[in-house]
């Protein structure tokens, strides 16, 4: 399993009328061949901006890179021109968006939207294009592809549209697929189908997936490794087991407390984390979670905690790991193992 994507100290901000929004503040992570990496966090913590940096989909301006490097198979993404970037988008890195209702062009036939990636590159003749489109429609579980090929988006259900979006992301045969909350706007049964489809396709094609979600249940079901984001930073990372059963960051612990699972006991209440994420215009100097953290200490308000390496793949950014801090056993999902993992 080789690394295909290496992100180092990535910082991305937006220049707005209200000031500079520091959306991503120093993020490092790698993606290996054929693995599913999850990025989880509350809304507004910088997940989408991070993901869109990888294929430069954030509007630039007002957005700009403050710092960092993104290496895709050894080439730098951040300094690429638009023309070079177009050779990456779609064919090296595919993207699935959150809302299939608005992410398809309402006046273009489904088939044409799938083929366009090749039309742009002058690949294949008309007949081959259609074959490609029908093949990919079949692969994403759309059985009557011939009919769907000539339909417009409004003639398809939400789940069907998201399958088409997946088809569009896959058809260029990319090495990585970024799925930004691909099921957030779908209902639960459709969500399960789409997640199953993504996992099956990933196994079949050995594509890497970066799966963004605010739902730890989705992470448990899909991912190998997890990055927990908060306030534009990765506050904890680890294998799925580390995150769920050996939680080392109060924010992760809080997220675990707020997830629903099918077998939640009746008297077990979901506890959303109180308070709101930090102001990204002027993020606090100390730990971004300090204002909401029930374990916060003096130091937390004054200095940014360093990233503590706990195991090979497990790190956390929390002062509780400091040798002078008193040992605290954070609540995690020990008892609930069966229900979350199923």
């Amino acid at each position: 399993m080789g690394k295909i994507l290496e992100v180092k100290d990535l910082s991305f901000s937006f220049c707005t009328y209200g000031g500079i929004v520091k959306a991503v503040r120093g993020v490092d992570f790698d993606v290996n061949e054929g693995e599913i990496v999850g990025i989880v966090g509350e809304s507004g913590c910088g997940k989408s901006v991070t993901a869109q940096c990888l294929v430069r989909l954030n509007p630039e301006p007002p957005g700009f890179f403050e710092n960092g490097s993104i290496q895709y198979k050894g080439t730098e993404i951040i300094t690429m021109t638009d023309k070079e970037m177009r050779k990456i988008r779609g064919v090296e890195i595919g993207f699935i968006f959150q809302d299939p209702m608005t992410s398809l062009n309402p006046t273009m036939k489904i088939g044409k939207q799938i083929e366009e990636i090749f039309v742009q590159r002058n690949m294949y003749n008309k007949k081959e294009l259609k074959e490609k489109a029908l093949e990919i429609l079949k692969l994403v579980g759309i059985s009557d592809g011939e009919r769907r090929y000539n339909q417009y988006p409004h003639e398809l259900s939400g789940g069907m549209k998201q399958r088409v979006m997946i088809a569009i992301a896959l058809v260029g045969n990319p090495s990585i697929i970024i799925a930004d909350e691909p099921t957030t706007s779908l209902d639960v049964t459709i969500e399960a189908q789409i997640l199953d489809l993504l996992r099956d396709l990933q196994k079949k094609l050995n594509t890497s997936i970066i799966l963004i979600t605010h739902d730890l249940g989705v992470i448990a079901k899909m991912c190998d490794r997890v990055l927990v984001m908060y306030g534009g930073k990765i506050v904890e990372r680890g294998m799925v087991d580390d995150i769920f059963y050996n939680t080392k960051h109060p924010y992760t612990s809080g997220l675990l407390g707020s997830i629903a699972s099918l077998e939640t006991e009746k008297d077990e209440e979901l506890e959303p984390i109180e308070g709101t994420p930090p102001d990204l215009f002027s993020p606090p100097a100390g730990c971004p979670f300090a204002a909401r953290c029930e374990y916060a200490m003096e130091i937390c308000y004054q200095a940014m905690p360093p990233e503590y390496q706990l195991a090979d793949n497990h790190t956390t950014m929390c002062w509780l790991q400091h040798e002078y801090a008193k040992a605290i056993d954070l609540p995690c999902k020990k008892k609930l193992k069966n229900e979350v993992m199923q």
Binding site: L57, M85, K87, R89, T102, S103, T107
Partner: protein, 306 residues
């Protein structure tokens, strides 16, 4: 689609019939009548009135009239001696139609082009130029624009004929004057629509596929941005075509406008009725064509209207 068109045609016929009935009643409610004149003796007047069927009960007149217009016969003018309304329309309408069509095609195509350019160069000089043209066009009335064009291009610089309608060169100033407002409105709408579409998620999807800026603009952005502009084209066509009357009089063009105004002044019942119904029918038809066109370019309408 066929059912939709059929429905539209039926509605159009009903609209025209209602229009004809209302105008038929209204002209008779206007004070005075077509034949009042100092020199007219009562005998001659009675004679003329019976010639036009005015001595019959109103309801009978109504049915006779309806029967005739179904046959396409609008009767004889009551003021232009021995001229049928059909002939007057046939002589004058081609001028109005020609002027209207020139103004429409000029204004819609230029409006779209200006709107697209303004949106693509948003905040740059070209955008400001387009916006200023649009502001002038939507705030200055067409007769003033018409007179200004006449003055500068006709009289001062002598580039175009000041009036009359005898060749291509004559058509240019009145077409611009008539179409200016519509061009300004279309360009404003198109600009706003382009800027809205560029924010849409599907533009980002296209970008994520590695599609070039140029292709995104013409395959995704323009195609979708044009929809809201087409919706307002129906009323626009009507406003341009009725606007011809004003421009015709400024440029002394022998179109329907002159006859229309005079027919009302003269209380020329059959000419008022004939022109109104003809014009109404024409507008209804224009609107219907625009609606059908909209159905053709917007796949969402195409299906629901089936």
């Amino acid at each position: 689609m066929r059912k939709y068109i059929f429905k539209r045609v039926i509605i159009s016929f009903v609209t025209i019939w209602v229009l004809a009935t209302i105008v038929f009643i209204l002209v008779r409610l206007m004070p005075g009548d077509p034949f009042s004149s100092d020199k007219m003796t009562p005998e001659i007047k009675a004679n003329i009135e019976s010639y036009y069927g005015f001595d019959k009960p109103l309801i009978e007149q109504y049915f006779t009239y309806m029967k005739n217009i179904v046959k396409g016969d609008f009767g004889y003018s009551m003021k232009y001696v021995n001229q049928s309304v059909n002939k007057i329309i046939a002589d004058s309408f081609p001028y109005s139609f020609d002027l209207g069509m020139r103004a429409l095609s000029l204004s819609i195509s230029l409006g779209l082009v200006f709107g697209i350019i303004a949106a693509l160069y948003r905040g740059k000089q070209l955008d400001y130029v387009c916006v200023i043209i649009a502001i002038i066009g939507t705030s200055v009335p067409d007769f003033i624009i018409g007179a200004m064009l006449q003055y500068f291009f006709g009289i001062k610089w002598g580039l175009f004929p000041v009036a009359q309608y005898q060749g291509i060169k004559h058509t240019i100033l009145p077409s611009i004057a008539l179409g200016f407002y519509t061009m300004a409105m279309v360009s404003r709408l198109m600009r706003a629509s382009m800027l809205e579409v560029v924010q849409q998620d599907y533009i980002k999807t296209a970008k994520s596929k590695g599609i070039s800026k140029f292709r995104i603009t013409y395959k995704h952005q323009i195609r979708n941005a044009i929809m809201p502009v087409v919706t307002v084209l129906g009323p626009t066509v009507a406003s341009v075509l009725t606007g011809t009357f004003v421009i015709e009089s400024i440029y002394a063009i022998p179109g329907m406008g002159k006859y229309y105004v005079q027919s009302v002044q003269n209380l020329d019942y059959s000419l008022i009725l004939g022109m109104t119904i003809f014009y109404g029918a024409f507008l209804v038809l224009a609107n219907m064509i625009v609606d059908i066109l909209y159905g053709v370019i917007d796949p969402r309408i195409r299906v629901s209207g089936r």
